[in-house]
């Protein structure tokens, strides 16, 4: 496939533009992921173990928000950040920060809903013991997150996958501006619209390799930690 060879030629020749785009992709996605994890994991965990009237509905909402169209998220963030919008004075529109915000909005529900399910399973096992030991609130949330850490990595990787693959939201709030907000997915979309299908595919292969690398790293660390613990 000359698509791949073209893409790998770009990589091997350390094409500066490609690297800039790759780096931005990974930076935006990882920061968005970090924000989402910091919000989503405790939220999902807390919803799994707490009891209040609207709890079921909140979980339902999180699950439904997993299906929030990126374009809609993009639009909402756009309207918020646009110069005439409430947060317009921040001047964030068409910057990487705006893309990070949009992605974080998009994947927080995913991480929260998936981690909620994981923690709920663990909760079935731990509930009585924690109740008996009087462990509630923050301590319980933290304990669940720690003890479910291996299963939670899959939730986080799902969030990462969504972030790194996402185009609809970042193109609206980022604008796909060359050297500023162009990321891999928007570059692929651009090449596609130019009819450069093979180059687009090649870029896709590069992005997938990157995603594979991140996954391998995360899963590798997990396996290593698990081995060390239960050796």
């Amino acid at each position: 496939m000359d698509a791949l060879s073209e893409a790998f030629r770009l990589i091997i020749t350390l094409d500066a533009d490609l690297f800039e785009i790759l780096l931005l992709s990974i930076r935006v996605s990882l920061i968005a992921l970090a924000i989402s994890a910091i919000i989503g994991l405790p939220l999902g965990s807390w919803l799994a173990i707490s009891k209040f009237p609207g709890r079921k509905f909140c979980i339902l909402l999180l699950n439904a928000l997993m299906g929030m169209p990126p374009v809609v998220v993009g639009l909402i963030v756009y309207l918020l950040l646009s110069r005439s919008g409430p947060l317009g004075w921040l001047g964030l529109l068409y910057t990487p920060s705006a893309m990070i915000i949009a992605q974080a909005v998009l994947i927080t529900p995913i991480i929260a809903a998936l981690s909620n399910q994981v923690i709920e399973n663990l909760h079935q096992e731990y509930r009585d013991t924690f109740y008996s030991m009087g462990i509630t609130g923050r301590r319980a949330v933290v304990a669940y997150l720690v003890d479910a850490r291996y299963a939670l990595t899959t939730c986080i990787l799902a969030g990462f996958g969504r972030a790194i693959a996402e185009v609809g939201a970042v193109i609206i709030v980022g604008g796909n501006i060359d050297h500023l907000t162009r990321v891999m997915t928007t570059a692929i979309a651009l090449e596609t619209s130019k009819g450069n299908l093979t180059l687009a595919l090649g870029l896709g292969a590069v992005l997938l390799s990157l995603s594979l690398l991140v996954n391998a790293l995360v899963i590798g660390v997990r396996e290593y930690a698990a081995k060390r613990q239960y050796a």
Partner: protein, 244 residues
């Protein structure tokens, strides 16, 4: 965490009064009106056939289950308010996915901070000190039970609920645990213990509660129960006869 108990202090969770406790599960009345009054400190052993409702009764006392109907009072407290003063060891202990020592530290974070040596002492008391850094879930069945007892004792509860806590222990560990439980009860902790082991009941019990079919069938001082059980059900149970 409570301060160290003292046998001369009155136990704040006594007397325990249970009136007409009812619970239905899968359309079966699994607790069918339990009436029980426990006035005295010391050790109460609950006996009775499988499925009699012993575990469910303990869980109601501990607040894990809200009965469909009925009334529970511990001293002047409702179940919810007495929780901090209670500890329970379950029939199947659940340990966190951490090391043995971390399991204790997690249960008693203050002690872990201010007096970590007490955690080691607790491990020593159940003969697990040399396992401190091993993953807790890899312990043998009996070792897990001992760890979970050590965890429960750390909080120095006013009421200690033990659900067949020595079922998987070897004879030496049984005696060890019994001596720990006895010592704790002498320090003023009220102990309620479910057991199928008659010799254990004889060794430990001040009082026996015999359950059958979701009800309390008999409540007697220990010596009297074993020599002259009052109900035919208890008689049959002690003789090893089947009573379903």
């Amino acid at each position: 965490m409570n301060t160290l108990r003292n046998a001369n202090m009155p136990n704040p969770l006594l007397p325990i009064s249970i009136r007409d406790l009812r619970l239905t599960r899968s359309d079966r009345p699994v607790l069918g009106g339990v009436n029980l009054k426990i006035d005295d400190p010391g050790i109460t052993v609950i006996m009775g056939p499988n499925g009699a409702g012993k575990t469910l009764l303990l869980r109601c006392l501990h607040g894990l289950i809200t009965p469909d109907q009925g009334f529970i009072k511990l001293g002047s407290l409702a179940v919810a308010d007495s929780r901090d003063e209670q500890a329970m060891v379950f029939q199947h202990p659940v340990l966190l996915r951490r090391t043995v020592l971390q399991n204790l530290a997690f249960a008693a974070p203050e002690i872990a901070k201010t007096a970590p040596e007490r955690l080691i002492q607790a491990l020593e008391s159940v003969n697990l000190a040399n396992r401190a850094d091993q993953p807790a879930r890899m312990l043998s069945g009996g070792e897990q039970q001992r760890l979970s007892l050590a965890r429960a004792l750390l909080s120095e509860p006013a009421l200690l609920l033990l659900d067949e806590a020595t079922a998987n222990l070897d004879p030496a560990s049984v005696l060890l645990i019994e001596s720990l439980v006895k010592a704790q009860s002498l320090q003023g902790t009220k102990v309620i213990l479910v057991s199928h082991d008659q010799s254990q009941a004889r060794r430990l019990a001040d009082e026996i509660v015999f359950m059958s079919n979701g009800k309390v069938a008999e409540q007697s001082p220990a010596d009297q129960f074993f020599t002259t059980p009052q109900t035919p059900a208890a008689k049959a149970y002690l003789a090893g006869e089947i009573l379903f």
